[in-house]
């Protein structure tokens, strides 16, 4: 029997703020000693009080505007009550029925085409502490609590059950991450746990049938695992149903090694969180002028930018999406275009998505956009050849360079003078009789070898295309 999967995604993402959500503690960094980024408020000491972080609120309002959501005129905070050692106050400050943003959507393109995923709500809350379960040298087990993460600002974004397959879920999560990074709301590094994805999955026999029993899937630590875990869970449920079984409402974890899901916990009788309005925090009025200023400050959003690169700059959909997918790359592209307005966009895009992204992924610093533009311009005008340009690029990301000056002072200009190149070619042909013999025997690769030798003899400055032409002509003689 064929089943339709119904999938909703819940994403928790750590906002990019200098301090925690309700106290002045700095956001913990990798390598901080446990419990060093804490204060009475995020430790839940007797008498401590929360004060909301304005920047966090602004970032969520910006996210709301970017997904076309509505923000209420007044919002408030609610207490979600439950006991767990990672929750120091015994309640989490969250938002129940007045989230900072509601009813937005995100456009998603998959192999099947374009569509959109509706977002039900986005709200602010505080993160919990981190628990570590350890066994001491004597075999005793202990649970250790690090409150550094306690109280860090979290944005929770919940979709409508609009998704039908793992690929769309993955693309949605990737697109949301890109949006968050583009507007500076979050770094959303999934490998550091800054972005956590949970999926609710149920099956139904047809698209007009009621929803089936849903299973929550957690522990998906990469976008790839989001796609695979959902695909696996949907097929697992189909097998159960096909065999005449029923789906148990539960939380399952994704096991990366076996590529299967496993039961983490059966759904306890639905938890009563006893939400009520947080009495320590007054309701928050969202001044329209404040919201308007936030909207006005939004950068160009990924979807708009991709469309513009295709329609205005003539880039391919693929090139446009590669550039936009990395905000730093898009920023370099924009800045370089601003510096050299006549520069060929396609060539510049190739340089950004090729050379730049390659080194950026290795952690290199960004080049100066003006000099980067000058470098690509020198390639465009054939003033320097590709080999020289790549060498200069490798240098400029570690050492500031003035490209114009360096080309002149180091004599890096490309040799396009036929006379000069022919002299080099004559020497190369004389020095490589074997290559000539190979060519005569019909081996075309001999030409490439001779071009390489000539390039070497020109100290990398020869015009590669012209060298090829001239060598062929010489051999033909």
């Amino acid at each position: 029997m064929s089943w339709e999967a119904v999938i909703g995604i819940e994403i928790h993402v750590q906002l990019r703020t200098a301090t925690k959500m309700f106290c002045p503690c700095a956001i913990p960094a990798e390598g901080d000693a446990p419990n060093t980024r804490t204060c009475p408020t995020c430790l839940g000491l007797p008498g401590a009080l929360p004060v909301p972080n304005r920047t966090a609120i602004e970032k969520v309002l910006a996210v709301g505007a970017a997904i076309g959501a509505k923000s209420p005129a007044t919002t408030r905070w609610d207490r979600k009550n439950y006991f767990y050692p990672d929750l120091p106050k015994g309640y989490q400050i969250s938002q129940l029925d007045l989230p900072l943003a509601e009813h937005g959507s995100i456009a998603v393109t998959t192999s099947a085409g374009s569509g959109s995923v509706r977002i039900r709500r986005a709200h602010l809350e505080e993160d919990t502490a981190r628990l570590r379960h350890e066994k001491g040298a004597d075999g005793t087990r202990a649970s250790l609590i690090d409150y550094n993460r306690s109280g860090v600002a979290l944005l929770e974004i919940v979709t409508e059950p609009d998704i039908r397959d793992g690929e769309t879920a993955r693309r949605y999560a990737e697109e949301l991450r890109l949006l968050l990074r583009t507007i500076g709301a979050a770094d959303a590094e999934m490998e550091n746990g800054q972005l956590r994805v949970e999926a609710n999955i149920s099956l139904r026999p047809s698209s007009d049938a009621p929803f089936g029993t849903r299973v929550e899937v957690k522990n998906m630590n990469s976008f790839r695992s989001v796609e695979r875990a959902i695909a696996y869970e949907a097929s697992r449920q189909a097998e159960v149903l096909d065999a005449g079984g029923t789906i148990t409402q539960e939380t399952r974890g994704w096991d990366e090694g076996s590529e299967t899901t496993y039961t983490m916990r059966a759904k306890e009788d639905s938890h009563d969180y006893r939400y009520f309005p947080e009495p320590d925090l007054p309701p928050l009025d969202i001044d329209p002028a404040w919201l308007a200023a936030i909207v006005a400050g939004l950068p160009e959003l990924p979807g708009t930018r991709r469309a513009r690169y295709v329609s205005e700059l003539g880039l391919t959909e693929y090139d446009a999406s590669v550039l936009v997918a990395e905000p730093r790359a898009a920023a370099l592209f924009e800045a370089a275009r601003a510096a050299q307005k006549e520069l060929d966009a396609k060539l510049l895009a190739n340089w950004v998505s090729g050379e730049y992204l390659r080194v950026a992924k290795e952690g290199a610093a960004d080049p100066d956009p003006d000099q980067f533009a000058a470098l690509v311009a020198a390639v465009a005008s054939k003033e320097i050849n590709g080999t020289t340009a790549k060498a200069l690029f490798a240098e400029m990301i570690t050492t500031p360079l003035n490209i114009r000056e360096v080309i002149v002072s180091r004599g890096l200009g490309q040799i396009s003078d036929t006379g000069a190149l022919e002299k080099i070619i004559a020497d190369v042909i004389a020095a490589n009789p074997q290559a000539i013999a190979d060519w005569k025997a019909g081996k075309q690769q001999a030409v490439s070898f001779l071009v390489g030798q000539a390039m070497k003899a020109s100290k990398g400055r020869g015009d590669a295309a012209l060298l090829g032409e001239l060598i062929r002509a010489a051999l033909d003689r």
């Binding site: 009475p40 430790l43 839940g44 000491l45 007797p46 008498g47 401590a48 009080l49 929360p50 004060v51 909301p52 207490r79 009550n81 006991f83 050692p85 120091p88 106050k89 015994g90 309640y91 609590i145 009563d272 006893r274 939400y275 009520f276 009495p279 320590d280 925090l281 007054p282």
Partner: protein
Amino acid sequence: MSAELRRATAAQLRAGFGSGAFTSLEVVDALLGAIAQEDAALGAWLHLRTGEVRGEAQRADDAYAAARASGAEAVRALAPLLGVPIALKDLVNMVGTPTTAGSKILEGYISPYDATITTKLKAAGALILGKTNMDEFAMGSSTEFSAYRRTVNPWDRERVPGGSSGGSASAVAALHAPLSIGSDTGGSIRQPASLTGITGLKPTYGRVSRYGIVAFASSLDQIGPFARSAQDAALMLHAIAGSDPRDATSSALPVDAALLTLPQGDQAASAIKGKRFALPKEYFVAGMEPGVEAAVRAAVAALQSAGAVIDEVSLPTTEHALATYYIVAPAEASANLARYDGIRYGASKHGGGDLLDGYLATRGRGFGPEVRRRIMLGTYALSAGFYDAYYLKAQKVRTLIARDFDRIWSAGYDAIVAPASPSVAWKFGAKMSDPVAMYLADACTIPTNMAGLPGLSTPCGLSEGLPVGLQLIGAPWSETGLLSIAAGYEALTADAPWRAQEPTDLAALGGAA
């Protein structure tokens, strides 16, 4: 001399330190001596800073001596409470001192930080003698729910001092300190002030920062002073009031400098003329002791003869205040007290069984009966299916209560005059087996908390030899006005025989030690 120093008000102490008539150290020693002699019987204190406070007094005296050498202006410029010893209710955090909130669950807990009011009181020069006894987590009206000790009323050792700030009230009434800090969620400053014959002020919600005050019910809790005069209460309010970036519910309104110098004597008395007071009939409820009603009506008559206009008014929602309070306050408390889980601090019973066993044992044994009762009430009221019927409805009634009061202020009244407590101090144990009888003790004070208004209790006579308090309730932010009226009433009744009467068991306290 020592007896005189014990009786002095904070204002008199400040003047005497300034003139060099006596020193802060002499006062501190007199008070510590009295405490050593009498507190075994009084039971007001939970922790004393005996060692530290003498050094602090010495430093205050040095500052006065130096200032005197530079002239009167330099003395005036010193902090308004410099060298004045005070007491903190044991729910105010002070770095390095125990903070138990009267509960076993916080036994051994030492505060790692100062409450905002602690910082402000230190900045105002006050010397913190120690921490005072209270009903556990401020839940109670007699201080009998303290997990640590019984505090007696200095007017009668067989009777309660009221609560929950009974330790702070008894300490001031028994001349162990001129000033103390209390907290008032449903009457916990005004009711014990009434029962021990002193002045107690609950400021407008938001007037005083709650940062560092162990929370009972966040939307109702306010911190305020106990004193033996309106002027002294005003001095302490001036020291602790003001906006606090650490408390999102604190008001940005500036602190009124007029609190430092309220009208006194004839000037204060004559200011009563032309004042308009509302007398709400619902506050003279069935069950009110006749002696209490008589004393309050006599006080109202005194105000009237001084030229005040008194109108009987109706606050029809008064009868609903108690019931709604016992939804809202326990609901908030059920969440506020969730942090006492034995995981990070305080008494812990974790380690035996699983996590749930640890929670149950820690909280089951750490909390006393009244706290457990209120956590259960609050948890129930917030539970799925009951929220709308209880918590939401209670909040709606709360709005109606506030509207009732608004009508009074719109009609131009300067204050509401009412009893602070329907009874005088009762005997130990009289209400311990009947929670509702205990809850009714706060019937006159709870509506003010529900509406966030300022209210004070000022002594207005005796009934059966025990103090009665006159309650003044004002519009939001009208503390200076309320305290000025109280100062006027003090002046009007300065010669009343009951004013000369000191707590009747004061002498016996020392004898019993």
